[in-house]
Symmetry: C2
Subunit: 339 residues, 2 copies
DNA sequence: ATGAAAGCGCTAACAA
DNA sequence: TTGTTAGCGCTTTCAT
């Protein structure tokens, strides 16, 4: 079937050239923005192209240029949680926005199974993607390394679990963000501060915990409890209950993401304590719901959309100029009612 | 730049054929799954392809077949809200999953500006997309009609604002879902039932309101208040406050989506009332957070991921067999603590 | 059952 | 500045 009403077939460069009264090459030059073209030829071509609603045939172009003019946005983690998290969509939005002016397609892909991975790797290595944005990888995933070995430009969201030579990535300043959360709490007079961590196979979770501990150390404090969470509401609630049972005297909690903070908020309320009067609570992310819950959540904001944009720009840079240094973006505390 | 280590260039059908000792045509036939090929030729070709990690060059294929082997997943509404809503990501996930076996790419696009729209329309009409999944259109958007006029297969998420001849779409049974919410509430003995609607330029909001009213009518009841919301937490909270002020005697509320129900929950608590004891609350969506809030939200579940899958399958059907009837998927009430 | 050959629409040398 | 020409890798007649 054809994506076009019967009869008319898509205009080609040939037809544009004919209408403009020039050769195909000249028409091509104009459309490619070449400067070595006469003024009247240019105008004629532009007029003809507009007249015919000409659109370059990407397939034909790709065949010649050996570029695909498309870049992959690849989700390494098929877990439900990731899709339920607004983060993902916002990164995608940022990446798309940054690519808007570049005339490249964003090809979306999820690597759900081992077969998916294998197929994707061949596809990318086969030159069908000019570059790849990789999000939500877990643990020590070999994919970025393998893609890089195959010569495929890659940018990661978040630092890799283990350093990879010459691998570009964009990350939030998780360590600094966690430290500033601690600073914020100590400035408000809190001294018995606990934390709920994310899953510790994720660099973001590790960095936030380390930043938390470093922040406390800078104030000559020790953690008033550390509970493992998993970045979910239910996990945050469970972890908070454990903390309250083990350390009933705590007066503040830093949750490594907002979802866990929401869960913690419930657990605190159920224990008969009040936020922030009895327990101050700080989250991480500034997710869309943070301002809407009650009490509104004080949290460490990371610039998600900007990070998505940065990843796309970084990738373009890798494609055009080779390896790029990592980029760590600043975070800041958004003060609301919970702390 | 090239997505491949210097020196080695991507294997072509030519090289596979050479290694297998057959002609390019035969190699092509094998890889295309043709039956008119000798057994030993087939095996030789398959072995050679595996050996070389051959991947079909899509550009070259497209040029011949005049298909792009890619379908667009297009977001018509650039609003922040949409991306903050987990719905979007889950539909995308479903669509991707359904396409997994079809060897097509999912090209993701957001139509943020009028220029984006115009460019996209030309792109699609130019035959560079075999079909389009259109998500989150607002009001009476002409895009589906225009694409269809241009011969581009389209599937919509949600029924269009105004009927479009021969346009395929996949929707949840919003009317039936709202009715079942009312049934559920009346079965629990509630009789003074209010609703918080979505933005009434969206068919889903209209249908849920209408279903709500029809459900009440079936029980010989009238609405105990109708407040306009906008599908956000803040909007739900505001609307709930208005309802409580205007109709302090209400004993149940149906919110047209979960986010508004979350907001309503806060407003109810602030008024000193308790959920569900004083006011029963039912949402719509069964969003990931519905089970995690406190009290857990009773809500009308719609099968989001399945709807994403259905949209992709529908689109394939439109592409291969022409116009398809709309598909309305069933909803069901998930009983939790809030009602 | 297989091969030879003709393009699909475009870009990039190379000539003019 | 412009035109001519030669492919890019694939699918698809048409012969054989």
């Amino acid at each position: 079937m054809t994506a076009r009403p019967a009869g008319r077939s898509a205009p080609t460069l040939e037809s544009v050239a004919a209408l403009a009264g020039v050769s195909r090459a000249t028409a091509g030059r104009v459309l490619a923005g070449s400067t070595t073209v006469g003024e009247q030829a240019r105008e004629a071509v532009l007029a003809a192209a507009a007249e015919l609603s000409y659109v370059t045939n990407r397939a034909a172009r790709s065949l010649m240029t050996r570029r695909s003019d498309s870049i992959g946005f690849v989700v390494g983690e098929p877990e439900e949680r990731f899709f339920a998290d607004p983060h993902f969509a916002l990164v995608l939005r940022g990446a798309h926005a940054a690519l808007a002016g570049h005339d490249v397609q964003l090809v979306f892909s999820i690597l759900a199974s081992a077969r998916d991975r294998e197929r994707f790797e061949r596809f990318a290595a086969g030159g069908h993607l000019d570059g790849v944005i990789l999000v939500s990888l877990h643990g020590d995933d070999p994919l970025p390394q393998r893609l890089q070995d195959a010569g495929v430009p890659v940018v990661l969201s978040g630092r890799p679990f283990r350093p990879v030579d010459g691998l570009a990535y964009v990350d939030a300043d998780n360590t600094g963000g966690a430290r500033s959360a601690v600073d914020y709490l100590t400035h408000r007079g809190r001294e018995r501060i606990a934390t709920i961590t994310g899953p510790l196979d994720m660099p973001a979770a590790i960095d936030r915990r380390d930043g938390f501990l470093a922040g406390l150390a800078a104030h000559d404090l020790a953690a008033h409890g550390v509970a493992d969470g998993d970045f979910t509401v239910a996990g945050g609630r469970r972890a908070m209950s454990e903390l309250l049972a083990a350390r009933p005297g705590l007066d503040a909690v830093f949750a490594a993401n907002d979802l866990m903070a929401f869960g913690a908020m419930q657990a605190i309320a159920e224990s008969g304590r009040r936020v922030p009067h009895d327990v101050a609570l700080v989250g991480f992310d500034d997710s869309p719901l943070a301002a809407s819950v009650h009490p509104a959540l004080t949290t460490v904001r990371q610039p998600i959309v900007a990070m998505g944009e940065a990843m796309a720009e970084r990738l373009i840079a890798v494609i055009e100029d080779g390896p790029q240094a990592p980029l760590v973006m600043p975070t800041d505390v958004v003060a609301r009612a919970s702390a």
